[in-house]
């Protein structure tokens, strides 16, 4: 126990066989803090093309120049100098099972997560036995021409596609954390679906778990070509233990003419993590983009999946569920920018706060001039379970076209006494009754999840309710 994490990582890296090409950096030593040199090292370790190296360095300048956001959650405790910006995935398995917090291990047990998967989630092992499944699915995808790989490989294997789309929706200077991600990104998924191809199983990061998909600064790019369909599932409902204090991902999605993309996230970081993520999608003519976004864990989450409705008749939907318990601040929401005629958007947000937690909905619906006949509806409901907890709603509606019709509604309430009474008179305990009511409250979201996720999410809510009442 006496050695620090830093020393531990150094120790590990010594024995590792590196296969990079740059002779000037024979050994990459993980170190804290960010500089042009660190960025150069990441790029050279990955043996990246020059344009990516330059993009990273330029992004670093944006990151340094940008002030911290003055709005939203309190980020003043983030110490950028005390963060590892790049650790090889093999080095990451530095956790000792015994060092993992008991409550997290307990939750895994209660959720019925298999042993091998628990080890992966705890960062103890790089993979669990999903290899076989992964390869089977990989083969099926190859047969229909779908590209599904990690982002690092995509830069190498599909340079033209990546270069054409990378950073086009979320430019490096979009915001401070997008700049940070662009400078130091690693891992994440790359998906390309050819025209007219329908991918009928959800693509889950789960299935290619040995790739670096759950890094701190993952970068995901999804392109659904004309008339295609894909559903991507990120994360899992089991809590993920991370010793990294900052998670800052960027996800860019393009739904071309007539395509449909659904992106589902269930995020359940351990409660020491700042989760600051930029997610943006473009929907072209008659395309459909759907974000299903569940935020269960983390210390602070700031995440507002957005949809740019760029083609006539495009549709967008954001379903957001947020939970905040003790010491947590979950600031989630969604954005819909209507930039073409006859576009529609629906945003539904459900949040639950308890034990002093704070949830927020922050959203924007914007109708650009000439995006005539836009329709949008926003619905936010918040449930506050005790008198220490808090819920905020910050909806922005900006309209520059007179034919637009926009509506927003929100409610904040507590668990109904009469509902509780009814359920308890049927023999349920108060905890069970509350959990049942909360599960009913978030049902509009869970019913959109793949079945196994919905089941896990419900069980997780039940666990979160334990000890909350009475």
């Amino acid at each position: 126990m006496a050695i620090s994490q830093e020393e531990h990582l150094k120790e590990l890296s010594k024995g590792y066989r590196f296969d990079w090409k740059d002779p000037e950096h024979p050994v990459f030593e993980p170190k804290r803090g960010l500089s042009a040199q660190v960025v150069e090292e990441i790029s050279s370790l990955k043996d990246e093309p020059d344009w990516m190296r330059k993009a990273r360095l330029k992004a670093l300048k944006h990151f340094e120049a940008r002030p911290m956001p003055w709005w939203g959650a309190d980020l003043s405790d983030i110490d950028f100098d005390n963060i590892f910006y790049f650790i090889r995935s093999t080095e990451k398995q530095a956790q000792d099972w015994n060092d993992l917090p008991e409550d997290i291990k307990g939750t895994w047990d209660k959720l019925g997560i298999p042993e091998a998967e628990k080890k992966y989630l705890g960062g103890v092992s790089a993979q669990y036995e999903s290899e076989v499944v992964y390869h089977k699915i990989k083969k099926e995808l190859d047969d229909i021409g779908v590209l599904f790989t990690d982002m690092d490989s995509a830069v190498r294997d599909y340079p033209d596609l990546v270069r054409e789309h990378f950073g086009t929706l979320i430019p490096a200077n979009d915001n401070k954390f997008a700049a940070l991600n662009t400078a130091v990104w690693s891992g994440g998924s790359f998906i390309y679906v050819p025209p007219g191809v329908q991918v009928d199983i959800p693509l889950q990061a789960y299935f290619r778990i040995n790739a670096e998909n759950m890094g701190q600064f993952e970068r995901t790019l999804i392109i659904a070509d004309e008339g295609s369909y894909v559903h991507y599932v990120e994360g899992c409902s089991a809590p993920i233990y991370s010793s990294d204090s900052l998670h800052s991902a960027v996800v860019e999605i393009k739904a071309m003419k007539g395509a449909r993309v659904r992106y589902t996230t269930i995020q359940n970081w351990s409660t020491n993590v700042y989760n600051l993520v930029t997610k943006r999608a473009a929907a072209y003519e008659d395309a459909v983009m759907e974000w299903v976004d569940g935020n269960i864990g983390s210390k602070v989450t700031m995440k507002y999946p957005s949809i740019y409705l760029l083609g006539e008749g495009a549709r967008g939907e954001v379903l957001s569920v947020a939970f905040a318990g003790k010491g947590m601040h979950t600031d989630a929401g969604g954005k819909a920018i209507h930039a073409a005629p006859h576009t529609t958007s629906v945003i539904t947000s459900k949040s639950v706060s308890k034990d002093g937690g704070r949830t927020g909905y922050r959203g924007l619906v914007r109708v650009e001039p000439d995006a005539h006949h836009a329709r949008s509806n926003v619905r936010c409901d918040a449930l506050i379970l005790d008198d220490e907890s808090r819920s905020d709603t910050y909806p922005y509606i900006e309209v520059e076209d007179e034919t637009a019709a926009l509506g927003h509604e929100a409610t904040v309430s507590k668990v109904g006494e009469d509902q509780l009474f009814y359920l308890m008179s049927r023999g349920l305990s108060e905890v069970e009754a509350t959990a049942m009511i909360v599960n009913g409250f978030i049902e509009p979201i869970t019913r959109e999840l793949p079945m196994e996720y919905a089941v896990e999410l419900n069980r997780l809510i039940e666990l979160q309710m334990e000890g909350s009442v009475g």
């Binding site: 506050i384 819920s391 509606i397 007179e402 019709a405 926009l406 927003h408 929100a410």
Partner: protein, 410 residues
């Protein structure tokens, strides 16, 4: 631009203000220092995001303060023990009371404009209704502005003691002016069990910039009803805040506006629930024409411990022309759990189906649209209990609707 450049907001002008009691002199000095030290409100902040006054030049001269017209509806206020007079006169007569309440709810240091107000204000209205006294008919102050390039600082201090009952109307009016500033503050204290109805009717002419801050505190079992009507000014920013400070209090905030030409309206509201068992409801409705722009941003705060709060906030915007622009941001910050809070906002055009229905009944399109807009405002007007105010608003809406739309303003 500035037709009365001889006097502006400098130390020399400050020294020319009429003699005042020591506390008022000190307040002016402090406010002047704040004014000199404070930068203009930054559009980088949430509060000023939609109204950028960083380049706004304070090239105005303090207006000659004419006597604002006060109307008592011929009631013998003296017999009731009610004080209704000029604010400076009250400062001389009952300095303790004025000292306690002047800039207590809206501190001079709130913004550069409230500081300016604190330093250069002359006159204003002081209304004090003693314990248990009921003033039957509405009282009113008309603030008038008549010279180009001048600034006026209307200020109302209204105190309703325990169980008192009063209705007050602030009316602002002018002809179109070449550059003028109205920097207004309203401070209302509603004592325990008191009832106050307050209406502000803003009918400045074109060319006037109106910056108003209204804040009321509502005591135990008290009732406060406010109405803000805005038709005038080139740029009007009106902040209305109600603090529910005592258990069982209730507040209603209504707003009506009609923007046309290149008018810019920035309405901000706060419903601040500090005490438990209070009710507040807000309903702002506005129509926009030509290249006008309207922003509504409202806040409901429910402070820790303010259980059994019932708060509702509604903003509705009817957009009548292609170049008009409406933004709506109804915010909630809830820190108690046993509450009923909600908000609703909408921005949209006149409903085509309703239009079609009326047209199919033989009503010409223009007339049909006018009917729909009238009906849109009716929901608010129905809640206005002051007959003359409601009627005035109805006439003003009809007048706005009768006006030919401005072409090519954008």
């Amino acid at each position: 631009m500035n037709t009365a450049a001889t006097r502006t907001f400098d130390e020399r002008t400050l020294r020319t203000l009429p003699e005042a009691p020591a506390f008022l002199g000190d307040l002016r000095e402090r406010a002047f220092e704040e004014f000199r030290a404070m930068p203009p409100p930054s559009p980088e902040t949430e509060e000023w995001r939609y109204t950028d006054l960083t380049a706004f030049e304070l090239a105005f001269a303090p207006a000659e303060v004419g006597r604002p017209a006060r109307t008592t509806s011929n009631q013998d206020l003296e017999a009731l023990g009610v004080t209704f007079c000029d604010l400076d006169e009250a400062a001389a007569r009952t300095p303790e009371l004025v000292r306690e309440h002047l800039h207590a709810l809206v501190p001079t240091g709130r913004t550069r404009f409230t500081a300016l107000h604190g330093a250069f204000r002359e006159g204003g209205t002081f209304l004090h209704v003693p314990r248990g006294v009921r003033v039957e008919l509405p009282l009113q102050t008309l603030t008038h502005l008549d010279a180009d390039g001048t600034a006026v600082f209307p200020h109302t201090v209204l105190i309703a003691e325990e169980g008192a009952d009063v209705t007050f109307i602030d009316r602002y009016a002018s002809r179109p002016l070449r550059g003028a500033l109205a920097d207004a503050i309203v401070e209302i204290t509603v004592g325990d069990g008191a009832r106050v109805r307050y209406a502000s009717i803003q009918e400045w002419g074109d060319g006037v910039t109106h910056l108003g801050v209204q804040r009321a505190t509502v005591g135990r079992d008290a009732e406060f009803r406010s109405l803000a009507i805005g038709f005038g000014a080139s740029l009007a920013r009106a902040e209305a805040e109600t603090v529910l400070a005592g258990q069982g209090g209730s507040s209603e905030m209504l707003g009506i506006f009609f923007a046309d030409g290149a008018q810019h309206f920035d309405h901000r509201s706060v419903q601040d629930h500090v005490a438990p068992n209070c009710t507040s409801s807000l309903l702002y409705k506005g129509a926009l024409r030509d290249a006008s722009r309207a922003v509504f941003s409202g806040w409901v705060h429910v402070r820790p411990g303010a259980q059994k709060t019932d708060a509702m906030q509604t903003s509705r915007n009817l957009v009548l022309s292609e170049h008009a622009k409406a933004d709506s941001i109804p915010n909630l910050e809830i820190e108690a759990n046993d509450v009923r809070c909600g908000h609703a906002a909408s921005v949209g055009p006149v409903d085509e189906e309703t239009l079609f229905y009326l047209e199919s009944r033989g009503i010409p399109r223009d007339e049909a649209e006018r009917l729909i807009v009238t009906g849109f405002f009716q929901e608010v007007l129905d809640r206005v209990s002051l007959e003359e105010v409601r009627h005035g608003a109805e006439l003003a809406i009809q007048e706005e609707l009768g006006r030919a739309p401005e072409e090519d303003v954008a």
